[in-house]
Symmetry: C2
Subunit: 413 residues, 2 copies
């Protein structure tokens, strides 16, 4: 890549069909934000939407908003907007609750549908909250279930005919590797198992095609690539063929077949509504819509193409400019096999990331030694890639990461 | 009450020490809002807080807000603010998730702590989502648990030594009757059972004294009397003596003893933090604080006194002015035995409430025949009681409820 210059990247931005989407986000001046895979940037429309929900819908319309401003149907409406991004149909997704809670519902349903099987296959090295959720569930059920942890290359062989459910995060939170959804789902179905896909690092980052893969269940996050705001509600997908077949255990009145009949006994809705528990945090949910509306005008294929380009350039430039500083690529070089992030390992990773952040290049650190950079094509520019690498080079070359304030492990970013 | 006039109530407002709190809320002009027990009114500070969270904390500070703006500790900080209102200590409450989800956690913990007992005592006629939650849980566990439904006067006799947990809503959502927390908790403990108190209609309405009653667990709602905004996160209380003794099953990373160690296996925190699952909806949670801040300056004893007065006057005036129209009091006359609401039964209740709402007196209807009026002393005036009753009288006297548009049962308020 030695022929490349900053101007080359500026030219790429000038030709980028997605470039204008950046104008729809608020991004602090001079900041290169490569952490949208942890918390997506703020759509400019979010401020007005928040004001409107607080002032008009809550303040002025008060209780009538449940009907007048469609609060009752917001979870479904937003679910339908997410459906397109993950390759499923209307009425198969709800935007609700949090990822861990949605995973709990799905795991419980899946185990219920495979009562004679006791094994859950998971990827032990991925973000641990999914492991924790499964561990909490099986301890609570106390029926001899166990988790079979497998790493990327062993997943297919781990899926044997004693497996009830395969529960995997499609993109690895540290390395960014992308699992083959179709191959794994097929293997699971061959042996009679069900599959839950955690799309936390996929939805909005790449075109997910759940129904084409015949996936059973999925969940994902609203506040990363979907730009829904801090702690925005998550989403949950149940393939239509499974709806009404198993009951999720968090049975609140919103999941009742007739929520306003106030019947004494629970009677589950036979559609996606049964995934709901109770009242949703309307303000957070409403603001999530601002992020989703932007995606309605964006082409996921173009997003994916730009994402792969950004990652490729970043890898290439780091390896060219920072070759001698011991940064080791933790992400695959194969663009089709990774999500929208690039990670490098370095024993001083924590301090390096602190130095980057102090220089206004924001990625994040994942213990013990990963520095992680997320690329969000709706607002990351090609020139950001160049500028970030030059900043990293400066830090490495001058050993700026040695500063004591960058080596205090109390800071969490 | 025949000596009373509108001026009498205006005088009461002039002498009311709580009167100035009304200025801290947005209330639509000419509206008499008696539905704060369903959705509390908007604190004026909520708008600026929402803008600040969206624009500065999310938009500008982005990922650094988790530390810089204290997002990680918001659930605990707000929990501590709620603690005072329900008579418990710091570190015993978290503001998080939704009521049904928090009830699920507590029921699971309680059953786990009483493994040899199979009975849950509940009040069948109360708001059914609590029943649904318990039904979902015991179906899921499939260990022979059963719910013993008892009504108010039979609760004590239903608490026998086969009972694992008594799970009750302190104030009945329809009739407003207030259960005797101390007596019931004592009886439960005598037979070795645990108690969960659902404070949805109590917190912020009356001084709850959980620790004085030696209560085990509690949960409640942020969006009714606490004025936290639509679907605001709920709260959960675990008495300190029970913390670390049982694991709640929704085990996400926020409940881990070391959430940022990203350990593969779940290891529960041994304090109130273990009630957390994962990332909370920060915007909704932050705005809940606006409602709680108002309570920091309000005296719960005065709130309770005014609440009882408002209810007494309302009952007296309805019975005086609407005597001949067949409205039958569904709430007790004993002020100490009710929450902060008054309900009347009438076979045309639905249409009567629609007519009231059209006349800008907002209460709500609960099937089959209850019209319900909530009194929220922070912003309900004494004169509102007078004006609401005069409006009701006009509707009954002139049979305005007969209008066809008030009899279309599709409307839900």
């Amino acid at each position: 890549m030695s022929e490349l210059s900053r101007n080359f990247f500026l030219d790429l931005d000038r030709c980028d069909e997605l470039a204008s989407f950046r104008d729809e986000f608020h991004l602090p001046e001079d900041l290169i934000y490569l952490d949208g895979n942890s918390l997506g940037a703020m759509p400019l429309s979010a401020k007005q939407r928040a004001i409107d929900v607080v002032e008009r819908e809550w303040g002025q319309d008060l209780i009538t908003s449940w009907n007048k401003n469609n609060w009752f149907h917001l979870a479904e409406k937003l679910g339908d907007k997410i459906a397109r991004l993950i390759g499923v149909g209307l009425g198969e997704v709800m935007a609700c609750d949090a990822t861990g809670i949605n995973l709990y519902k799905l795991l419980a349903m899946a185990l219920d549908m495979r009562p004679d099987r006791k094994v859950i296959v998971m990827e032990g090295s991925n973000f641990p909250t999914d492991n924790y959720t499964a561990q909490g569930l099986i301890k609570h059920l106390d029926r001899g279930h166990q988790i079979r942890f497998a790493e990327k290359d062993d997943i297919l062989t781990a899926i044997t005919d004693d497996v009830a459910v395969v529960s995997l995060t499609q993109v690895h939170y540290k390395t960014g590797h992308l699992l083959d959804m179709e191959e794994i789902t097929n293997k699971a179905h061959e042996v009679g198992a069900l599959v839950i896909w955690d799309l936390c690092h996929s939805a909005g980052a790449l075109a997910v095609d759940l129904n084409n893969c015949n996936a059973d269940f999925a969940l994902g996050c609203g506040y990363k690539y979907l730009n829904g705001g801090p702690g925005a509600p998550a989403f949950i997908f149940v393939a239509r063929r499974h709806q009404g077949k198993a009951m999720q255990p968090l049975t609140g009145w919103w999941g009742h077949a007739a929520p306003f009949a106030f019947e004494k006994d629970y009677r589950p809705a036979d559609n996606i509504q049964q995934t709901l528990t109770g009242t949703q945090p309307i303000l957070s949910l409403a603001v999530l819509e601002c992020g989703l509306e932007i995606f309605e005008r964006a082409d996921m294929a173009k997003i994916r193409e730009k994402s792969m380009n950004l990652c490729d350039y970043f890898i290439g430039l780091v390896e060219e400019h920072c070759e001698e500083y011991g940064l080791s690529l933790a992400t695959t070089r194969h663009r089709e096999e990774r999500g929208s992030q690039v990670s490098f390992q370095h024993e001083k990773g924590f301090a390096i990331m602190q130095a980057l952040i102090a220089s206004k290049v924001v990625g994040d650190f994942r213990a013990p030694d990963i520095i992680r950079f997320g690329f969000t094509p709706l607002y990351t520019r090609y020139v950001d890639v160049w500028d970030a690498v030059i900043c990293l080079k400066n830090i490495m070359e001058n050993e700026l990461w040695r500063k004591p304030e960058y080596n205090q492990l109390t800071a969490v970013t």
